[in-house]
Structure formats: C-alpha cells, structure tokens
Amino acid sequence: MISLLSIARHSAWNRRSTLVWVVVSLALATALLWTLERLRHDIRTSFAQSVSGVDLIVGARSSPVQLMLFSVFHIGSVPQSMSMDSVRALAQHRSVSWVVPLSLGDSHRGYPVLGTTTEYFQHFAYGDKQPLALQQGAVFAGNLDGLYEAVIGSEVARKMGYALGQSITLGHGMDDHGHGHSHGHNHSPASPASPSHDDKPFKVVGILAPTGTPVDRTVHVSLQALEALHLEWVAGAPLPGGQIPADQARKFNLEPQAVTAALVGLKTRAAVFNVQRFVNAFEAEALMGVMPGVALGELWAVLGLGENALLAVSALVALVSVVSLMAVVLAGLNERRRELAVLRAVGAGPRHVLGLLTLEGVWVTGSGVVLGVVLAQLGMALAAPWLQQGLGIRLQMSAPLPTQWALLAAVLLAGLLASLGPAWRAYRLSLADGLSPRV
C-alpha cells in the first residue's frame, strides 16, 4: 500500500517538466551557500595555518595587517624597512629566544624571494607547530662559499620542474616587470627597464616538503646573497658601468644594514606583551610588534564585511528560489483540482491534502538541496587545484562543516514554509469543491 510520501513523490515527478526548473534554481542557491561557507572556512584555516610558533612579527611602524600580510603571505608591501641594529637589539632582550630577519622584494618568475638566515628553517613553523622539512637536499650554507644557494618551496619545484642543482636567476621587484617593492635596501620603484640579476645565478640546493602555505611558493636565499645582488644598485636600478662579477662580490661587506621585518620567538609566551611594549617604545626607530593571531583577527573583521555581503546575496537567491517554488505550485493548483477531488473521494481528508502538498514541497526542496550539494562538491573538486595554485587556498575535501549543515537545514525549512501556502490553498479548494470540482 502506497504512503502519502510516495504519492507526493509520484505527483511531483508527474509534473517534473515544470518543477525541474524550481529544483535547478534551488540547487544553484544551495550550491552557492554551501560553497561560500566552505570557502570562508578554508580561507581562514589556510591563513591561520600559515604561521605558527611565531610570537611576534616586528617591522617598521605601519598597519599590523599590512606587515603580517607582507612578511608571512608576501602579499602587498610595507613602506619602511627596519635596521639590523634594531634586530640585534631585539635579540638581546632577555625574554627573546630567537629572532629571524626577513628581507623581501625580489622575485623569481612571479614567486617571491625571501632573504633570511638559516635559523628560519629551524624556527618557522606552520599548521600546528609543524617545522619546515626538506624533501631533498639541504638548506643554503649561509656563508660566503654558499652565497649563491637557494632553497625552493615544493610548488616552485613542481611547477617550474626544478631539481637540485638547477641554476636560477632572480628578478628585481615582486614580479618580472619590476614594479615597486620593498626590501631591506629601500629601493624606490624600479626603472621600467625591468632590471634583473642575470649576472649572479643561484643554484637550487634544497627543496622543501609541501606545507600548503605560502612557503611552498617561495624561493629562500641568504640575506648576504640579496646584499651581493644589489651591491652596484642604487635607487632600484643598476649603476651604469659598474658591474661587479659574482665572485668579486664576496670581497665586499655583505652584512645587510636593514631588513623588511623580523620574526620573533619568545622564551615564554607570557612575555609577549612585555616584548611588544619594548618594541613599540623602541627609541632608535619607529617599530611595532604584531601578534599574528591578533593581526589575523583584524583581517577577519575586514573580510567579514565582504563575506557577510556575499552570504546575504546568496540567502536572497535562496529566498527567490523558494518563492518561485511557491509560485509554481500555486499556479499548478487549478489544474490539480481533479486530482484533489479524487483524493477526497477515496477518503483523504483536507489534512491529507495539506500534508500531501507540504510533502511535495519538501520533496522538491530536498531534491534541489541534494543536487546543489553534489554540484557544489563537484565544482570545488574541479576548482581546488586552481585555488591552491592561484590563491594559495587549500580547499579541504573533508566532512561538511556544522555551519554548512545549518545552511542546508535553513533552505529545507524555507522550502517547507513556502509549501504551506499552496497547501493551505489546496486545502481550501478541496473543502469548497467537495467531490466534483467546478471547473
């Protein structure tokens, strides 16, 4: 014997040619909400996972978010550098365990070049305090013999097809066309001649294991190497006539005078506010200390506005779909008065009619929701490599988030509520018509 639910399903299937468009629009709305929520979560996770075990990021005083974005994610720029004297003073502080200076500004084929010390590989961590690991080779020597050595991230190696021993040249500026940049040397914007450092090629000596963070997209060299590259450079352009051969460069003083920022690890986390005060009140130059978590929080506060706007638009799309469900079912009711009369003739009461129409709405909404989730998952699976490569965001193909389920439930509930309207109308019609609809 057939159940009411099954009757509703057959009835809806019988009118599939019109209902299919409602299902499609519900599916699109669901897919939008589902994907947006996943993206929102994964972007945050990607960012939050990118830096761990660093207590403070110190740089010239500007915006905390800007400093964090540039020093950890290599996005944007900072207007000022900080002097190495300040870095050394910071390292002297009794609560400070380690200080790793960072110098940014050059690039290789669009991948940022990070000048740092060998300690970077010991102290920098990602995810849940996971240290960086080498997949092949070793870190650069950090002395004059190994001056032109580079350690590349896993994505650089994979995308460019680099193996150990590969010779690479760096370009000046953050992309191959030499736009404005900021690293330890405080160059002004580069000349339009797209200057490069072809005369001093680097050798790949190490390839890092994948981390899913900006590290994968970075070329690491020593601070001294960056210094050597820029010996004959003034104001962001090479001095005319003054080419210093790669070997000759070793004879110069290659100790940098300034860097972009410094990562600081403390002996105890409890000292973080103390050290931050010390940094912020530093006398020799205007510095600031940024806690990565706090800066991320500020970033979310800004991004949250955009996210909420997107979510609101998606919710509107869902609302429109649900209203169209209501309109389509209402419009079809007149043609179904005969069907309702048959149901009443076999003993269905108005409450059954009410239930049937409501169930039908739930079927349609449910189909839309299921289709939407399938679409969204397919779409994300297809887009995941592109997002990872283009934006460094790793989409997690893991179990759906509670908030995603909540959005699904909201769509289903809206569908249920929207079908109550037509159901009520059908109820009234079936009462008025009796056994023979007057149409």
Binding site: I2, S11, E339, V342, R344, A345, V346, G347, R351, L435
Partner: protein, 229 residues
C-alpha cells in the same frame, strides 16, 4: 441506511436553493437509480450523501450517523470507512499504478484495510476486485493513465468496492463509455456491489438502465415533492 429528513441545500449561504428534498429512505443492499437532466443538482445530491456538502436545513444520515453532527476530521474518516465513489471519468491518479489506485481507500481507512485481511491484505484484495471487474492482469502494474476510458472505469469500480464500504456512489459511471460497453459494465458493477453487500446509488440520464435497479428516483420529481412538503 440512508435517511434524508426534509432538507434544503444552497451552494452559497442565502443563495437560491439547489436542492429541496422531502423524506427519503434506502435500506442496506438496495440499488438506487437517480435520474435527471444536467444541472438539476445530481452532483450536489451525491455530495450530500457522501457528507462533503451539508444542507442548510434538515438532515442527511448515513448508517444512523448525521453527517452534520460529525466534526470535520471525523466526517472525512467516516466517509473513508463507509463510502466508495465512482466518477463519470478521470477517477484515477494518473501517476500511480492501477494497483496503487485501487488500494488507495485502504490507505485512508483502517476499517476497509481490516476488511481486506480476509482476502490476504489490500494488494490481494485489490487483485480480487480487479479480476471481478474483468480487467486483464497484464494491466495491473501499468500507470493508470495508459488505460482506455473503459478500463479506467473498471479500475474505479474496483477501488470503490475494496474493503466493502456500505455505500457506493456512482456519478454517471457509463456516460464516457461506448453504448456497447455500458450494459456490460453495469452488469459487472451491480453484481460486484451485490457481492460486497454495498448499497449502490447510481446517477444516470440513461433511462435504459433504470429497470434493473430496486428504486428509481427522478430528481426533478423528488424536488417537487420536497417543495410541497
């Protein structure tokens, strides 16, 4: 089993009376032929018997139960239990199978479901009635709207009879059929109703059929009697 006390019915409150009837009585198992031109209120009369319409004055009683005295929900349940209906046409839910259409009343009535137990449950009982109505077995699993009009009327009759309701109402059940088929269909329907012990009230404007019914009513005449009373 049907008792009508003098009554008036109008579609709209305060509108013109559609039906004015005097006292009427039908005993269990009788067959009633109800005749009258189109628009004389035959459908309203059936609606009143089935309890989906209520008179403004007077009473319609089925099996001793005054329809108007029942709350709305119980009225539907009472109808599901005791009344089977056959329309002129479009009796079936087109998207369900023949068998699912026949068992529908058992879906809504526990009593009729229980009465099917002797036959082995609603499905088995549905098959028995479809066989009685002479519908070939090969059609039972087909979608209802793939059947001819004549076949659909047989399915509708099987559905009206399943679970042996005390009253079967038929609203011009043969008018959509070819003349050759009409007689045959009525034969089978009346015999089946007799076997089920059901009272059959059949509305028709085909006087040829009238002679084989226990009672022959002409609605216009009933109305005149009612108006005089």
């Amino acid at each position: 089993m049907i008792d009508i006390e003098p009554m008036r019915f109008a579609w709209t409150r305060g509108g013109p009376d559609t039906l004015v009837l005097g006292r009427l009585h039908v005993t269990q198992g009788q067959t009633v032929f109800l005749q009258g031109p189109s628009g004389c209120g035959k459908s309203s009369f059936l609606g009143l018997l089935a309890g989906v319409l209520q008179p403004q004055h007077g009473r319609v009683t089925l099996l001793g139960q005054d329809w108007a005295a029942l709350p709305l929900g119980q009225r539907d349940a009472f109808r599901a239990d005791h009344v089977g209906v056959i329309f002129q046409q479009f009796n079936l839910l087109p998207y369900l199978s023949v068998l699912d259409n026949v068992t529908l009343p058992c879906r809504f009535s526990k009593l009729r479901r229980e009465r099917c137990q002797a036959a082995g449950g609603p499905e088995a009982s549905a098959q028995t009635w479809l066989k009685r109505m002479g519908l070939p077995e090969g059609l039972w699993a087909r979608r209802a709207d793939t059947l001819s009009v004549g076949q659909q009327q047989r399915v509708a009759a099987a559905r009206a009879l399943i679970g042996q309701p005390e009253l079967v109402l038929a609203d011009e059940p043969t008018s959509a059929l070819d003349a050759a088929l009409r007689h045959d269909f009525m034969d089978v329907l009346m015999q089946a109703a007799r076997d089920a012990g059901s009272t059959l009230v059949c509305v028709s404007h085909d006087p040829q059929q009238a002679a084989r019914f226990d009672l022959q009513w002409s609605l216009p005449e009933l109305q005149q009697t009612g108006a005089r009373a």
